[in-house]
């Protein structure tokens, strides 16, 4: 090994030389070949994004926070000695203590476990809404972008109409009118208010997602490999699902991530005006809005759910920012 390298070095040292030696035409050894090929590990889009994401300390902290909150919400209730609707009469309005770290409420229910269940419901609402938005928005946007022309024009005009409909007002309407019919259908399983939030998201909130996906599809559509696929006779649905949507995953993920805090926020708002999940079930929004009246006497009832809901929304927003920076280098702010 040593010798040929030395020889080579000498060759390089006198570049003008025309003199050829046997060393110059010898086949490369295995190590040399590897040195030639692996200059640096090749990075796929996802590996690159992953590396960028890990470098972003705030985003990683947000992700860890979300995982911890999710554990708190979904595993926590199993470890707690109380249930969310268990009333301990002699322990009403007790301040935080070792026995009840978050205190107890008006009926003597343990606030810690109520916050856990509340977080569970708030998170589920957020995630379900995001899934709905992804499914509807992606399909709508992909079809609109892929078909183009008149189809695209009509579909986009329809989006414009949806966009100007005041969404919260429609949610309130849905909430009021669907409460009883849905309450009968879904009696005992989910709150009817949760269902009408889902309905509202399915009706109105995918507009932004559809726009983003359409933009991305318009971009990808003109690339050579899509033309190649079409030339080989791939069907429209195959091109959409195999090429266009996978190449929009970054945009989809980022947009979906911002839907989660939005849904949690809207649920909290609805709880405040008395249209949230119904008792004895509780979301973080209904816990904190229910505690506002007695805030002066029992601040702990508001403080814990309010901090938790703000933390969740904050973490999802920061995670969304981090994902956007990682997945879409064009949108990076630095």
């Amino acid at each position: 090994m040593e010798k040929p390298e030395k020889k080579k070095f000498m060759n390089v040292a006198r570049p003008g030389s025309l003199q050829l030696t046997a060393e110059d035409v010898r086949t490369a050894t295995k190590e040399e070949k590897e040195q030639l090929f692996i200059m640096r590990e090749t990075l796929t889009y996802w590996k690159d994004a992953y590396r960028r994401f890990l470098k972003n300390k705030i985003a990683v902290a947000a992700l860890i926070t979300i995982v911890l909150v999710a554990l708190f919400a979904f595993v926590g209730p199993m470890l707690s000695p109380y249930t969310y609707d268990q009333q301990i009469r002699e322990n009403r309005y007790s301040p935080p203590s070792w026995e009840h770290p978050f205190g107890t409420d008006v009926h003597g229910r343990d606030m810690l476990v109520r916050c856990m269940v509340g977080a569970q419901i708030s998170l589920s609402i957020g995630v379900c809404c995001a899934v709905l938005v992804v499914v509807i928005g992606v399909i709508y946007g992909a079809i609109s972008g892929y078909c183009g022309g008149k189809v695209d024009y009509v579909m986009m005009r329809y989006l414009e109409v949806l966009y100007t409909i005041p969404d919260v007002l429609v949610i309130i309407l849905l909430q009021i009118s669907l409460k009883e019919p849905l309450g009968k259908i879904f009696a005992g399983t989910l709150g009817s208010s949760m269902i009408s939030i889902f309905v509202a998201f399915a009706l109105l909130y995918w507009v932004n997602m559809a726009r983003m996906v359409r933009g991305q599809v318009l971009l990808v559509k003109e690339m050579e490999y899509v033309s190649a696929a079409r030339a080989m006779g791939a069907k429209g649905s195959r091109i959409i699902f195999r090429h266009l949507i996978p190449n929009s995953i970054g945009v989809i993920l980022v947009t979906a991530m911002f839907q989660i805090p939005m849904a949690i926020f809207i649920e909290a708002f609805l709880s405040y005006i008395g249209l949230g999940v119904s008792a004895p079930l509780a979301s973080l929004g209904s816990l904190s809005s229910g505690a506002i009246g007695s805030f002066r006497s029992y601040p702990h009832l508001l403080l814990f759910p309010a901090m938790l809901i703000s933390l969740i929304i904050l973490a999802f927003n920061l995670l969304g920012d981090g994902l956007r920076d990682a997945l879409d280098p064009r949108l990076r702010s630095e």
Binding site: T164, I176, L178
Partner: protein, 305 residues
């Protein structure tokens, strides 16, 4: 430009039509009708149904309703006897509008200043601080923020009174801050990122090389570009501020339309809910329409297309 305006106008009318229709049919799904909660005899119920035209088949009710809407009649309140929705709006809306307009102006003013300050000090302490505050502003639900503000400034520090709603200019401070926190934070982030996009472009470098002063570059070159996305945000912001009014007015005891809307939701006063929804929707749609037109005026690049 004119054809665009006409097109958008019809779009706005169509949206309004959809909202009205949706409102009408959703309110008709509600089982039992509006008088169910009242303990009255069947005879009285029939008479009331007849009086309000509720005994007609649904399509006739729909036509009647739309016809009344066309003439600007939003209906009557069932719970507040003898009042029409129009009268209630005339009585309550000015209070909400005043608060809302102040909140809009404050959000834009403070949002633009904070965003510019953050972008001009990119990655320095000031930038981080502003971004931190604006992230918190987006993350804390308004009704929680409002409650905490009252507790801190009215009860603990005693700077303002918690009961005297909008009695003096000082009383506007807390409601306006609560109402504008979210849009202010959003605008600050928006302005910061658009400025950072513009700041590295060639025409800014040229201006710097020519020796144009820093203030003039910000004012003449950067702001003109950064303000364009802000115009599109005015539509969603109006909707935000209207729905924000629902809880802000309640927390701060302000007798405005938002508070009244929430109360009509609680008492299930259906015609009032319908009337107010349509009125507020009209407001949002009109603002969106104006913004759409304005956007073309502000951004000369779009005209070329």
């Amino acid at each position: 430009m004119i054809s665009f305006t006409i097109k958008r106008f019809f779009g706005a009318v169509l949206t309004l039509f959809i909202v009205c229709t949706l409102t009408f049919f959703l309110m008709n799904i509600v089982p039992g009708g509006p008088f169910l909660s009242e303990k009255t005899s069947q005879q009285t119920l029939d008479r009331m149904n007849e009086k309000y035209g509720l005994d007609l088949p649904i399509h006739e009710q729909y036509i009647n309703y739309m016809n009344r809407l066309l003439h600007g009649d939003l209906g009557i309140s069932y719970k507040r006897q003898g009042f029409t929705v129009n009268e209630i709006i005339a009585e309550k809306f000015p209070v909400s509008a005043k608060l809302g307009i102040i909140a809009v102006i404050w959000s834009i003013f403070s949002g633009v200043i904070l965003g510019t300050a953050a972008a001009m000090n990119r990655n320095k302490l000031l930038d981080r601080a502003i971004m931190f505050i604006s992230t918190i502003g987006i993350s804390v639900p308004g009704f929680i923020l409002g409650t905490l503000l009252i507790y801190l400034f009215a009860e603990m520090l005693g700077w303002v009174s918690a009961t005297d709603a909008l009695g003096s200019p000082k009383q506007y401070i807390l409601p306006v801050i609560t109402l504008s926190m979210q849009s202010m934070s959003y605008i600050a982030r928006l302005i910061r990122s658009t400025i950072l996009d513009v700041i590295d472009s060639d025409f800014i470098k040229t201006a710097k090389a020519k020796g144009v002063s820093r203030i003039r570059i910000i004012y003449k070159h950067i702001m003109r570009n950064a303000l364009i996305p802000l115009v599109t945000y005015v539509g969603p912001m109006t909707a935000f501020i209207i729905t924000g009014g629902f809880y802000v007015e309640r927390i701060f005891n302000i007798p405005g339309l938002g508070d009244y809307f929430v109360r009509s939701v609680e008492t299930r006063d259906y015609p009032l809910i319908m009337g107010l929804t349509i009125f507020l929707a009209l407001l949002v749609i009109v603002v969106n329409f104006i913004v759409d037109i304005l956007y073309r005026v502000v951004d000369p690049r779009i005209k070329l297309q």
